[in-house]
């Protein structure tokens, strides 16, 4: 009986490690390939990305050659991306400009609102909170329609505002932070009240410090979500010049395929850094969500 248990555990560990390895492979692969020189990329993957049959280029074979380790480590792709072709950097900058204000201001608005939902729980507020939950559960295909209409009326279509404003007022962070704040014992806040603190002071000096961890978690979740946005720019921003890199990467043309791996790697660096330093916060943030009712 005991022996069977041990073998079972070994098998289980092996299977899990295999799955885990399979999961990171695409990420590692992209990174490794970004250090290949342009000629090597074309030789290995030319088959896939060459749409026009010029016949001028020579491929190693007529199939794709999946490769992890570059023949020669080369930074030439990065040099090209960073110095010679400003288009990608510009799109990267578009992403930053679109995402950072949303993360910051959604957090501000959500903290205030969560405090409002926590401090007093009457009938009206419960109805509002329920509305927020319903909105949160609607897919983009539904919420983008009202967002689009308002943006059109306010005449902010084709500007960053059309993405910023609906993003900032998204009910997602309100929901998460409210769930967290409601766990703070009322007695702590009441004690501050008796000491003569006003609501604003209680919020700033009692509530916020207690929520520091939660704020990090929620910030990370918002960041990942918007760094990955595709639907909103496609609908709100007609001009391709304004698109973030998350959309633009798919439009990379066959001639520049060597660069694509480098650009893709650069684009995932911020999220991987966040992951590296904030994994615990992220995991905590995910677990706050557990159960809509609680």
């Amino acid at each position: 009986m005991k022996k069977k248990n041990v073998t079972g555990r070994i098998v289980l560990t092996a299977v899990l490690i295999a799955i885990a390895a399979l999961f990171v492979t695409p990420i590692v692969f992209t990174m490794c390939n970004s250090f290949m020189a342009s000629s090597e990329i074309t030789a290995n993957y030319g088959m896939i990305f060459e749409t026009t049959d010029s016949g001028a280029k020579k491929f190693i074979s007529d199939v794709v050659n999946l490769k992890f380790i570059p023949d020669k480590v080369s930074f030439s792709q990065y040099i090209t991306v960073l110095l010679k072709s400003p288009d990608y950097l510009l799109k990267f900058w578009n992403s930053v400009i679109l995402v950072v204000p949303i993360v910051v201001f959604q957090l501000v608005v959500a903290c205030l609102a969560a405090y409002g939902f926590t401090r007093y729980q009457g009938k009206v507020r419960e109805i509002i909170f329920f509305t927020y939950i319903i909105l949160m559960l609607m897919p983009y295909q539904v919420t983008l329609v009202p967002n689009f209409l308002v943006s059109k009326w306010l005449n902010i279509l084709d500007s960053n505002w059309a993405i910023w404003l609906p993003g900032i007022f998204s009910p997602y962070a309100v929901f998460l932070l409210t769930k967290y704040m409601r766990r703070i014992p009322v007695s702590i806040l009441e004690a501050a009240k008796i000491d003569g603190a006003g609501e604003w002071q209680i919020f700033m000096h009692m509530c916020m410090p207690l929520c520091k961890g939660a704020l990090c978690s929620v910030a990370i979740l918002i960041f990942i979500d918007f760094w990955n946005m595709v639907e909103q720019p496609l609908i709100m921003l007609a001009e391709e010049q304004m698109h973030p890199l998350s959309v633009f990467l798919s439009k990379i043309n066959a001639g520049e395929i060597g660069l694509a791996f480098a650009v893709a790697t650069i684009y995932m660096v911020p999220t991987l850094l966040v992951f590296l330093y904030g994994e615990e916060y992220l995991v905590e943030g995910i677990t706050y969500q557990g159960g809509l009712k609680g």
Partner: protein, 298 residues
Amino acid sequence: MKERRERQKKNSEEAKIKRKSALFLAPSVLGVSLFFVLPFLVVIFYSMVNNPIQHRFVFLKNYMNVWNNSAFRLAAGNTFKFSFIAVPLVVILSMALAFALDSKIPYKSQIRTLLLSPMMVPIASVVLIWQVLFHYNGVANEFIKFMGGKQIDWFKSDYALVVLVFLFLWKNLGYNMILFMSAIANIPKEIIEVAEIEQAKRWQIFLYIKTRYLSSTILFVTILSLINSFKVFREVYMLTGDYPYDSLYLLQHFMNNTFHSLDYQKLSAAAIIMSLFMIVIIGLLFVIENYYGKDLSE
């Protein structure tokens, strides 16, 4: 007399908190009303008039038009089919992974990190890899040929759905697994011990105790995965562009095209149909969960 005054004081105190904390809510409520709730009411209105200028009431005509629209049917059918396959799979597999990681094995936290990493990576960054894998001359087909099979045109056949499910699982398994892991950690140990003493079999403990304590998490993960399954448009768009193979034409493609043609009636009616559909499904899931886990106190 004194008591009454005290009660009055307490009431006025509460009213004060109510008033003041309402100010904290104001920015969010204003924003949500302006960008979501009010325009949504307009969407309902638009869905029942003949056009945004004349405002002639046509009731369900727009709905019929959308419902009978072949593109909408194709998109809704594909999206539904995908969600119907992908959501149960992701729920079951992520629960299995969570239970597996709950047992005594080495390298737990490292494995968790690796399984979670796909959710951090922007879809745009890994699209190249999926192309290398699933191209007609790609790695997956190479492997199939090696095993003696026939090449598959992944993105231009009904196998596209298989690829999509695979990409969806890759992206979402880790995230859902975390939700299950925290729920499993919260199952009271005593009950399981009692069951073991009573010589319950392992499958009985699993079916009659564990899954019931997990029922609210199962509900939540199902809803979350359902919402996320609508986001698979991103992969499809990046891999195949605006006009994919028929079996990959999703609701978001339909919406994008309708946005570009500025057909407000169609857009509104489609959005309402979808939101009703979501509300019905989510309501149904809640009812099932309530029934299944009702005698457990949270």
